[in-house]
């Protein structure tokens, strides 16, 4: 007992003695940390050329981000991240302004942005859209008819919302000029066209079995309405497109039975072309057509060219059509040949208004082919082969073509099936961006194997005694010598690297790695800073290296849209000889499980035990819960995964017990815990599965010890009771083993629209919420510390901890005003848990704020410090956590959309690896008690060496002089 106390005291002295402010110097920024900015998969994107700054791609993405990307570097010029519940439905540019339309709850928000800076110019919230209409959806698209059109003479921004409402907003300030709602519930509007002071909205009206086209005409200055129906029969919205407008007449093109029909807007004339004529005669490649024709709008503004695509017997083909603006007749411009691969088309026009179309397809496993064609003169302008990995990115989905106006070249933004962006110029890949990481579902740290254990030596070391007996001593000796010779090859490189490292003092670089930079080997570094980060996105698995600025080590696309991943486990960390494994779960209709080698991403097939669990497995049931059990299977040293197909409800907590020893196991409900009526779970704290507790108690100033309450079954649950007004927050500490409440706290007057965040580690619970009672208004963070007893040196009577005992912890708590809203809370983890904990808060300003446990400490005294408090090194209580910018770990970076913060220990006790993910990724190393186990950066090894050498030199020079003098003094 005494020894423990002394040890604990020494440890706490060691750690607490260091300053609690951990912050950066300006030149350290970006050295140990790296930041990847993402925007998500583009929904709409267009090129925008600025007079002085060159071309940018403006993008609206499915993660509700607007961004401007520099086409030369792929860097983000500016980015605006919308809230998660605000979907961007339309984005369009005009001169130096871009208009976005987004939907939040039931309101539509139209915003105007300055294209070159990303500043918002105005916003207008449009309410009660579609109230009159019961919103029938015809197309498969979730949002019918959202469209933005700019009136030619700069009068206004016309927007079509929800397929029912057309509004005209002032271009300069966003004020509404007029608004027109459709009262007829059977009509849905799809397109908006403006021409000569008139606005046309084209919609479909439901008749008995099909749809008829309906055109509404508005006067641009006052919105007076005229409705006109066209005699037509359309099966699906995809059979109709609307082209033209602005500088020329608008046209409606649709497919009706076996004809293509064209109507010039504002007239009732319908031109007709029979489809049979197209097949074989006009377009030779359509002869093999065996499916429906698909009409594609090429998004060419007021141009009237469009694309018709059709599947054929041996693949697919397409043709470019044009509506002649004068006669209103259909013309065929170009016939793409039949190709077996799926093709993606995009079009643009060059300086001389010549139409240019690209066709891109994947021709081989790692080759994508791009053909650039000018359909008018039937010229092939270019045919390029690009490097492309089908295995990592999947098929091509979409492309946006642009002609470089300065140099005659063609550049293209390509979006692949996994959601990534690729930027191609002529035959080179200029940049690509792994946008699937913006959809990260879960991430895991993976320890890399040690280099030593990964060579031949291991074969010898891991040998079983029986195995060793079968090999003759001579053979074993030869093998040993061979291993040594093998290792000898690395010696010169090692020596050079060692000398280099000795001089520079940079121990973070592994000596052998330094020597052979070219080869990327996946091995742990000296301090364990290098790990793999494994990300699961909806359809993809990506492994990043924590060193090398988060470079992608491998990625694998599981090309199936039906399935979505939702769980990942590291079932085996690197041990001797065995590669680390990860385990994945996908589900929709059936559950699919994968087991992969985490170093390569390939399916893992165990070499020894062939009847082992297969690396890919489908189970025809939907698994509700999946858990990693803390048990290792002896043969392969993998953790066992438990699958539970029982429905677990969200309104209550339940405890289950696994019975039987035969598969499938039964689970029986042991306890259930229903929260009172009106309470819903707002947040649940999870204790990390593997946590190291350095000391069992907290040493006080008088050398007595408060013993920590370390219940492994403790979880903290926060609920919001919406039945009471104003809302109150309940925090429960529950023993999950028997379902009993160990502690219950109520906070009244809590904001219901702001989230509650909770984090838990060791005997600590931290939660954050918005409070608005009469006294205060602001964010509050509360910290709990659980002890076995209130009085020091007192422990529970039983020497063994059991949940069945009726012992309750003593909860020491304190609340602080917090300067920011919080999106996630993380806690640093270190190898042995000796370093002071630091709480990491993801702020709503897109930053990461680190607060030492010393600041968030429930023992901070609310009185003048006594000498004992001073000895315990407590800081006097202050109601507010200071808004100290020096505590912002992520300095001025903007880490958007943070969802989670995960931490992992390094080999150094002082250091914890921190990964922040969500939309962006940010990785850093944090030393909450400063790097007490490494020499400081300021320590100059060179100076020390020079001083020592200088002294030696001095001695060598003065020694003979002194001797001579001595001899002389004796002689004379």
């Amino acid at each position: 007992m005494v020894r423990l106390r002394v040890f604990a005291f020494v440890v706490s002295l060691l750690v607490w003695h260091v300053e609690f402010v951990s912050s950066l110097y300006a030149n350290q920024a970006g050295v140990i940390d790296w930041h990847h900015q993402y925007i998500g998969t583009p929904k709409t994107s267009f090129f925008h050329k600025f007079v002085s700054r060159g071309a940018y791609v403006l993008v609206a993405s499915d993660r509700n981000v607007l961004a401007s990307i520099n086409v030369r570097s792929g860097n983000l010029d500016w980015r605006q991240v919308f809230d998660e519940n605000e979907n961007i439905l339309a984005f369009k540019g005009y001169e130096n302004v871009a208009i976005s339309v987004s939907k939040r709850d039931h309101d539509y928000i139209v915003r105007s942005w300055e294209s070159h800076s990303g500043f918002m110019l105005w916003e207008n919230r449009i309410k009660d859209v579609g109230v009159m209409n019961s919103n029938p959806s015809i197309g498969d698209d979730d949002a019918p008819g959202v469209e933005v059109v700019f009136a030619a003479d700069n009068l206004g921004v016309l927007a079509l919302l929800e397929g029912t409402t057309v509004i005209n907003l002032n271009f300069t300030d966003g004020n509404q000029i007029w608004r027109s709602d459709i009262t007829d519930s059977s009509t849905v509007l799809y397109k908006l066209v403006e021409f000569e002071q008139k606005v046309y909205s084209v919609g479909l009206k439901k008749s008995i079995r099909s749809y008829t086209i309906e055109v509404n005409t508005y006067n641009i200055s006052n919105g007076i309405l005229k409705t006109q129906s066209l005699s037509s029969k359309i099966d699906h919205i995809k059979d109709m497109i609307v082209l033209g407008g602005t500088t020329q007449n608008g046209f409606i093109i649709w497919k009706e039975e076996n004809n293509m029909r064209v109507n010039r807007l504002d007239t009732t004339v319908i031109e007709q072309a029979p489809l049979e004529a197209l097949y074989g005669t006009v377009i030779p490649s359509f002869a093999n057509a065996n499916g429906k024709l698909e009409l594609h709008d090429l998004n060419l503004g007021s141009r009237t060219e469009f694309l018709v695509q059709v599947p054929t017997n041996e693949g697919n083909t397409a043709a470019v059509f044009k509506v002649d603006p004068v006669s209103g007749r259909l013309l065929v411009l170009y016939d793409f040949e039949e190709k077996p691969e799926n093709s993606v088309y995009s079009a643009t026009f060059d300086k001389s208004e010549r139409l240019i179309i690209s066709r891109s397809r994947i021709t081989a496993e790692d080759v994508a082919k791009v053909d650039i064609i000018a359909p008018g003169p039937r010229l092939v302008l270019g045919s390029y082969e690009m490097n492309y990995s089908l295995n990592s990115y999947g098929d091509l989905k979409k492309s946006v073509l642009d002609v470089d106006s300065k140099a005659t070249g063609y550049r293209m933004l390509v979006i692949s099936a996994d959601g990534s962006m690729h930027f191609w110029k002529d035959h080179e890949v200029v940049w690509k961006s792994e946008e699937s990481l913006a959809h990260t579902i879960e991430a895991e740290f993976l320890d890399l194997p040690e280099r030593k254990l990964w060579t031949q030596e291991v074969d010898e070391l891991a040998e079983q005694p029986e195995e060793a007996e079968t090999i003759s001593p001579l053979a074993r000796y030869i093998r040993r010598v061979r291993t040594h010779i093998e290792q000898l090859k690395d010696l010169p490189a090692y020596l050079i690297a060692y000398a280099q490292r000795f001089i520079t003092g940079d121990y973070e670089v592994e000596p052998i790695q330094l020597a052979r930079k070219s080869k990327i080997s996946l091995h742990r570094d000296t301090f364990g800073f290098r790990k793999l980060l494994i990300f699961v996105t909806r359809t993809k698995l990506i492994a990043l290296d924590t060193n090398n600025k988060g470079q992608i080590v491998w990625s694998r696309y599981f090309g199936n849209d039906i399935f979505e991943f939702n769980k990942i486990f590291v079932v085996r960390s690197s041990t001797v000889k065995y590669p680390p494994l990860v385990f994945l779960k996908q589900e929709r209709i059936v559950t699919r499980l994968f087991r992969l080698n985490a170093l390569t991403g390939e399916n893992f097939i165990p070499t020894e035990n062939k009847e082992h669990f297969p690396s890919e497995l489908s189970i025809p049931i939907i698994i509700k819960r999946i858990l990693k059990l803390p048990i290792e299977e002896p043969d392969e040293r993998t953790h066992i995964i438990a699958l539970i197909d029982e429905e677990l409800k969200a309104r209550s907590l339940k405890g289950y017990h696994v019975e039987n020893n035969v598969q499938p196991f039964d689970v029986t409900e042991v306890w259930s815990f229903g929260f009172p009526e009106g309470e819903s779970i707002a947040a649940i704290g999870h204790r990390p599965q593997h946590e190291k507790v350095a000391s069992l108690g907290r040493v006080l100033g008088d050398r007595s010890v408060l013993y920590k309450y370390l219940n492994p079954h403790l979880i903290a649950v926060a609920t919001l009771s919406t039945s009471t007004n104003p809302t109150s927050l309940n925090v429960y500490l529950i023993d999950t083993f028997k379902g009993s409440i160990l502690h219950h706290a109520i906070h009244e007057n809590v904001g219901s629209s702001q989230p509650v965040r909770i984090a838990q580690i060791e005997n600590l619970v931290v939660y954050h919420f918005w409070s608005e009672n009469f006294n205060e208004k602001g964010y509050v963070v509360v910290v709990y510390e659980l002890y076995e007893s209130e009085t020091p040196d007192q422990r529970f009577e039983s020497p063994v901890f059991t949940s069945f005992a009726h012992e309750r912890p003593y909860v020491s708590a304190q609340a602080y005003m917090f300067p920011y809203g919080v999106n996630a809370i993380g806690i640093t983890t270190t190898k042995h848990g000796i370093a002071t904990r630091e709480f990491l808060f993801a702020l709503d300003t897109n930053q990461v704020f680190g607060i030492s446990k010393r600041i968030l400490d429930p023992r901070r005294p609310q009185r003048a410090l006594t000498s004992e408090d001073k000895e315990e090194m407590l800081i006097p209580y202050d109601p507010a956590i200071p808004d100290n910018k020096k505590w912002v770990l992520s300095y001025h970076l903007s880490i958007a959309g943070i969802k989670n913060i995960i931490t992992s220990p390094a080999l150094l006790e002082s250091t914890s690896l921190v990964l922040v993910y969500g939309l962006d990724l940010w990785f850093t190393r944090e030393a909450p008690s400063k790097t007490f186990d490494v020499l400081s950066e300021d320590f100059s090894k060179g100076t020390l060496l020079i001083t020592i050498f200088g002294l030696i030199l001095g001695i060598l020079i003065t020694k003979p002089m002194v001797r001579k003098k001595k001899v002389n003094s004796r002689w004379y």
């Binding site: 500043f119 009469f774 006294n775």
Partner: protein, 224 residues
């Protein structure tokens, strides 16, 4: 001066818009952030009550075109705010802004200074409306690295100690030498009278003690 007058005019102009619409009891909070636009980030947000209502800052493009030399005007504006008392925060990574309490009721929109940790019922000093919020300071995320300086070197206690011993070593003998014969004599007499001088020398005592101890050690086995 001319620009400030025109600014006031604009504020008056804006306040006309702040008149609540009659049918729905909602209000508009308007104001201006002080460091000019070129320094602010486009992602700067105005947040009411921790995210209940929030909006991006807005660049007034129309105004910029009319008068070229004045600073860009930024409105912090938020539609649809029902009556109540709110905490307004400016979420900026570059500047630190004070938190403002805003009371919205039929009498209008009234901003007050607020201090974190103080009671909500206590109104701080009232501010003008439309708001003109100036940043308290720029946010500095980095520690300043202390460069080498002579003064910090001399402040070091070790250096001071060394300096002192150097002074004793080199200057004292010279001082002694410079003293005239009478003064030296006096000093020696003083030293003789000084009781400290009669104290036995520590080193000799210790040496004696040790030698005695050693003798004992050597002799001990003989007695046993």
């Amino acid at each position: 001066m001319r620009s400030s007058i025109s600014l006031c005019l604009i504020l008056v102009f804006l306040s006309l818009f702040a008149i609540p619409s009659i049918c729905i009891e909602t209000y508009k909070i308007e104001g201006r952030l002080v460091p000019n636009l070129s320094q602010l980030e486009p992602t700067t947000k105005i947040v009411l009550d921790g995210g209940k209502y929030s909006t991006l800052i807005r660049k007034n493009g129309k105004f910029k075109r009319k008068e070229k030399k004045t600073n860009d005007l930024i409105l912090l504006s938020r539609d649809n705010v029902p009556p109540g008392s709110y905490l307004l925060e400016v979420s900026s990574r570059k500047f630190i802004y004070p938190k403002i309490r805003i009371d919205v009721d039929p009498r209008g929109v009234r901003p007050f200074v607020t201090i974190t940790g103080s009671e909500w019922s206590y109104n701080g000093p009232a501010l003008q409306y439309p708001l003109e919020l100036s940043a308290r300071s720029t946010a500095d995320y980095f520690l300043a690295r202390e460069g080498f300086s002579i003064t910090s070197l001399f402040a070091n206690p070790y250096i001071i100690m060394m300096g002192f011993s150097v002074v004793i070593l080199f200057i004292m003998p010279k001082m002694m030498a410079n003293l005239d014969q009478d003064a030296l004599k006096e000093l020696q007499e003083n030293q003789a009278q000084n009781p400290l001088a009669e104290m036995p020398d520590i080193s000799t005592t210790l040496a004696n003690y040790l030698s005695d101890f050693l003798v004992e050690m050597v002799m001990l086995p003989r007695y046993s």
